[in-house]
Amino acid sequence: MDTMSEAGVVIVGAGQGGFQLAASLRDEGWRGPVILVGEEPGLPYQRPPLSKAFITGKSDAQQLMLRPEAFYAEKGIALRLAQRVCGIDRAAQRVSLEGGESVSYAHLALATGARARMPAIVGIGLAGVQALRSMADAQALRAALGAARRVVVIGAGFIGLEVAAAARALGVEVDVLEFTSRALERSVCAPTALWLTQALQAAGVGFGFNTTAVAIEGEGGRATGVRTGDGLVYAADLVVVGIGVVPNDALAAAAGLAVDNGIRVDEFLRTADPLISAIGDCASFPPETGAPAWRLESVQNAVDHARCVAARIAGRAAPYAKIPWFWSDQGANRLQIAGVAQALDSAVVRGDPASGKFSVFRFRGKQLTAVESINQAGDHMVARKLLAQPCRLSAAQAADPLFKLSDALPAP
C-alpha cells in the first residue's frame, strides 16, 4: 500500500531529536507535511529522567511526555508510533515501513538514536539483567528495583552512576564494576570523577575498578551474581548494564550512506544525499574546530541539531555551531559540563572540592576546551559563553577564586 499525498519531511525516530525537528519545522514556519515515525508505542518522551527521578518513583510516565497528544494535531504533525522503518529507496524518495506501507519524502531526517551496548558474556540473557535506554527498560528496572536487595551495575559511566545513586536512595545494596581504573573515564577528568565516586561511596555504593565482568551467574534462569576477571563473584538479584551505546546507523548503511560510528554528515548535518539529514545521537558530524568527526550523546546535541536542520529545510541554512553541554544528577549532586575535553587536556580546579562546590577548567595549550562543574551552576553558565568565542580566560584566572569569570567575556 502506498500513502498518496504531498511529500513532506519524514523523520525516522521519535526521540528528543525527532520530536524537536518536527516542532521546530513549525516554529520556522514550514507548512508542508511532517511525519514523525517512532518504534516505541507511546508519545515522544524525555529520556534523562529515566535513570534518575523515574526509577525511584518520583515522576511518572505522563510527566515525561515532551508534549501532550493534542500538540501534534494542533501543529499538523502526523505521528506514526509503534512503526519501524525498514528501508530507504533513495531513487524513489520513499521509506518503507514494516508491514508493507511506504511513505514518500521531500526530505528525510534520520533521528534513529542509539541502543544500549551489551557485553557478549555468558548469562547476559538471564532474567534480572537490565539495560536502560527506553521507557520500557526504565519501567522494568523500576519494578525490579522495588524487589531487589543487591544490585550490581556494570559500567561507571553516567547511566551506571545515576542508577547507583537512585538504587542507594531506595536502600538497595549497590556495587559498581568498572573495567578501567576510574569512573567516567570517557567523560570527565580524574578530579571530577574522584569527587563523584567519593560522594557515592559516602552514600554506601561499592566500587570495583580495574574489574571486568566476565560472566553473569544464574540459577533457574535468573541472575544471581556477576563473575569478574579476578575470579570473584559479586552477588546480585539485579544486574544493570551501563557500558555505553551503539548508534543506530544500519538503516543508513543499507541505503548506501556512509557510516563510521554513526551516520556521517557534513557541517550542515547532511549526508552525501542532500535530501537526507541525520541528527542527534546517531549522527557523526564535524566539530567547528576542524577536529575529526565526533558523535555526541545529549539532549542539547539532539535539540540543537534539530533546530539547525529545521532552519535549513525552511530555507535558512547555516552550519551547525553550538557549544555542547551535558548534565548528570547523582542523588543531590549536579554535574554540568560545557564543551568537550580530551584526556590529555589540563585540569585546573577552581574552588575547593571539599566544600562540595567547584569547577574544573580544561585547557589544551592556552585554549579552554571544557568546564566541569559540580554544584556550581553559575560557573557552568558562564563557561558556555566563554566557550562560544575565542578564549580570553587564562589558567591562572580560572584557578583564582577572586577573579570574576564573566570579566573574561567581551563587553556586551
Binding site: Q46, P49, Q63, E74, Q300, W327, N375, M381
Partner: protein
C-alpha cells in the same frame, strides 16, 4: 480531583493571556507544556539545567510560591531574555496548597 484548585495565568509578549486551572503541586513549566502555551521551551525537562522555561512572576503571585533556590538563582543569571527582579524558572515554580491566582509573563525568547 480532591484538591482545591488554583489558577496560573500566562501572559504572552503580545499581551494575550490564558488562564489554566491547576491543583497544588503543579508547576508553571509542566502546566504550560501540557496546555500548549507557546514560549516555554524547557529543553532539560525540568531539571533546572537549561534556563529555557524563564518567566517573570507578577508581584502579587510571589506569596503563593516558594522563593528562588540557590541553583535557580545561578541558572537565571544566564536566561536568554534579560533577568529581572521577578525572574523565575517555570519548572521551579510549584503551586502551593491554597494558592490564589499565579500570573506569569513569558519573555520574548528562551534561547
Amino acid at each position: 480531583m480532591t484538591s482545591a484548585t488554583s489558577q496560573i495565568t500566562f501572559i504572552q509578549p503580545d499581551g494575550s493571556a490564558r488562564t489554566i486551572a491547576v491543583v497544588a503541586g503543579a508547576n508553571v513549566m509542566l502546566t504550560a507544556l501540557a496546555n500548549g502555551i507557546a514560549g516555554i521551551v524547557a529543553e532539560c525537562g525540568g531539571a533546572a539545567m537549561c534556563a529555557t522555561c524563564h518567566v517573570y512572576l507578577n508581584e502579587g503571585s510571589a506569596a503563593f510560591v516558594a522563593p528562588v533556590s540557590e541553583v535557580e538563582n545561578e541558572m537565571l543569571e544566564s536566561a536568554a531574555s534579560g533577568r529581572r527582579e521577578n525572574s523565575r524558572l517555570g519548572c521551579q515554580v510549584v503551586v502551593q496548597p491554597g494558592a490564589g491566582e499565579i500570573v506569569v509573563q513569558i519573555p520574548s525568547h528562551q534561547v
